[in-house]
């Protein structure tokens, strides 16, 4: 009896090690000098290399919003942003919202309004809400619902989330930032 063995084709060349690119990021006020492979997303950088696991990975495709962070003060999906492209940027994550032991007003309002159940989407909801209030476009609860539609909550805590954001939004009465590109 003979056995035929088929082997996978051998590559002509070895797979090259990933190139590394030096970047500087200021994360929650701390300047970091890093070397990253070009495909490293901000999300993976935070979670896998910097032990900042508060930012969550949900879909990894920009559909769920749980990876939302503030990049130079603007809310974005960290899963769809390459770290190498953000050299020189400032990043705020959920770990950077509280001042010491004092919770950010939105964090306190989320507790007050029972705005979460499992909590997995909460870091993204909070960073997104910080961005929303800073943008200054939302005026009503309907506006909040529309402008928070990039943050999915599978537990369905939306009623509490909208109430918490609305309360802080009206408290802060933040003036819309002057326009800058």
């Amino acid at each position: 009896m003979s056995i035929t063995v088929t082997t996978a084709p051998v590559r002509d060349t070895a797979v090259a090690l990933p190139p590394q690119y030096p970047i500087t990021l200021t994360i929650n006020g701390v300047e970091k000098h890093l070397e990253v492979a070009p495909w490293t997303s901000i999300l993976d950088l935070l979670r896998e290399y910097l032990d900042l696991t508060g930012t969550k990975k949900g879909c990894d495709h920009g559909q769920c919003g749980t990876c939302t962070i503030l990049l130079n003060g603007t809310r974005i999906n960290s899963c769809l942003t390459l770290a190498v492209m953000q050299d020189g940027s400032e990043i705020t994550t959920i770990e950077g919202l509280a001042q010491g032991d004092e919770l950010h007003p939105l964090q306190a309002a989320f507790i007050e309004h029972d705005a979460f159940q499992c909590g997995y989407c909460t870091p993204g909801q909070l960073c997104s809400a910080v961005g929303l209030i800073k943008e200054g476009k939302a005026k009503t609860a309907d506006d909040i619902r529309e402008l928070m539609s990039g943050n999915i909550c599978r537990c369905g805590a939306y009623i509490g989330i909208v109430a918490a954001v609305e309360e802080v939004m009206h408290q802060q009465q933040v003036q819309a930032p002057t326009y800058a590109i």
Partner: protein
């Protein structure tokens, strides 16, 4: 995601040269669509040229009274820019009807035009798709095709272009400025995207290495009588099943000029000037709107799951025209 190398461009001509020389290289700016596709192995560039540091973020008034939007302006900065919001509210509201706040904060205007179809089979590398792999076949024609095209499709591809912004730009008759290895050229928006024919792998008429540098809006912005009606499976953060961008110029109850573009129905924003002229000089009545709606979707073909779109598109056109007359605008906060 496959491995790739990366460079950051500091000038338009070097970015163009670098990409023209390497057919597997791609530009990256906002990244919200290309990174999504790279994670799915649908896009497999061997090199990315980061264009975000190029000086293409400005907005400027043109001598003819139009407005030039730098290619790298984000969708959010465009929608909320006071001059766009005031003079081109159709564009502002249309942008805000798409995606999410987070995505609009990253996505650029040029990138919005270049986003790929959300056809399920294009995204699923386990299935044949002529757009992803020319010659492999179209899984959507005999498959599940609820979101697919009813106009201008071919047996090779029934994908739709997913952009909302492009639909408003079509109604506004915008012009796309590009720089390539052979110099600069201007492409009318209606000629920028193409129908699939037998080469569905090409979404646009851009040539290798060409980079969008800006988008020009003509002076006429239809700031009074306009609307963007977007019909979709949920109220926010969903692609259009059918959408309609309308701009009207009215003289009392008489229509002087009408622009109508449909989204979600074809491989490109669907315009038909010969249908629009049916309204010129006519009173703004439901009967006249119905005539135009019939003319706009004439020749439409359903592929089973999406056949409902033919009637939906007609009704949407009639409703959108009435909304534009009545100044019923989308309620997104500006």
């Amino acid at each position: 995601m496959n491995s790739f190398t990366y460079t950051r461009a500091d000038a338009v001509d070097t970015a163009v040269r670098e990409t023209a020389a390497d057919h597997a290289a791609k530009f990256i700016a906002g990244g919200t669509n290309i990174l999504d596709l790279m994670k799915e192995n649908v896009e497999r560039p061997d090199h990315l040229v980061d264009i975000t540091r190029l000086p293409l973020r400005q907005i400027e008034t043109l001598p003819d009274g139009g407005l030039r939007l730098g290619a790298l302006m984000t969708n959010a900065n465009t929608a909320y820019h006071p001059e766009v919001a005031q003079r081109y509210p159709l564009l502002s509201k249309t942008i805000l009807a798409g995606a999410t706040a987070q995505l609009r904060n990253m996505a650029t205007d040029a990138g919005n035009l270049l986003q790929r179809t959300r056809c399920y089979y294009f995204y699923d590398t386990a299935t044949p798709c002529n757009k992803r792999e020319p010659g492999s076949g179209c899984s959507a024609v005999g498959g599940y095709n609820r979101i697919h095209a009813i106009l201008g499709a071919s047996e090779n591809c029934i994908a739709t272009h997913p952009s909302d912004m492009a639909v408003a730009l079509a109604a506004l008759e915008a012009v796309v400025n590009v720089t390539g290895p052979d110099g600069e050229r201007r492409i009318k928006l209606e000629d920028f995207h193409r129908l699939p024919g037998d080469e569905p792998q090409y979404d646009t008429t851009l040539r290798t290495g060409e980079l969008i540098t800006s988008i020009d809006l003509p002076a006429q912005g239809f700031a009074e009588h306009y609307t963007y009606l977007k019909l979709r499976d949920r109220a926010s953060y969903a692609f259009a099943l059918v959408s309609v961008a309308v701009g009207l110029e009215l003289d009392g109850d008489t229509i002087r000029q009408a622009r109508i573009a449909l989204g979600g129905v074809a491989h490109k924003p669907w315009r038909k000037p010969e249908a629009e002229v049916l309204l010129a000089g006519q009173p703004a009545t439901k009967e006249n709107f119905q005539k135009v709606a019939e003319a706009l979707v004439q020749g439409a073909k359903g592929y089973s799951s999406n056949t409902f779109k033919i009637e939906l598109a007609k009704r949407a056109v009639v409703r959108a025209l009435q909304m534009a007359v009545d100044k019923q605008h989308p309620s997104y906060p500006l």
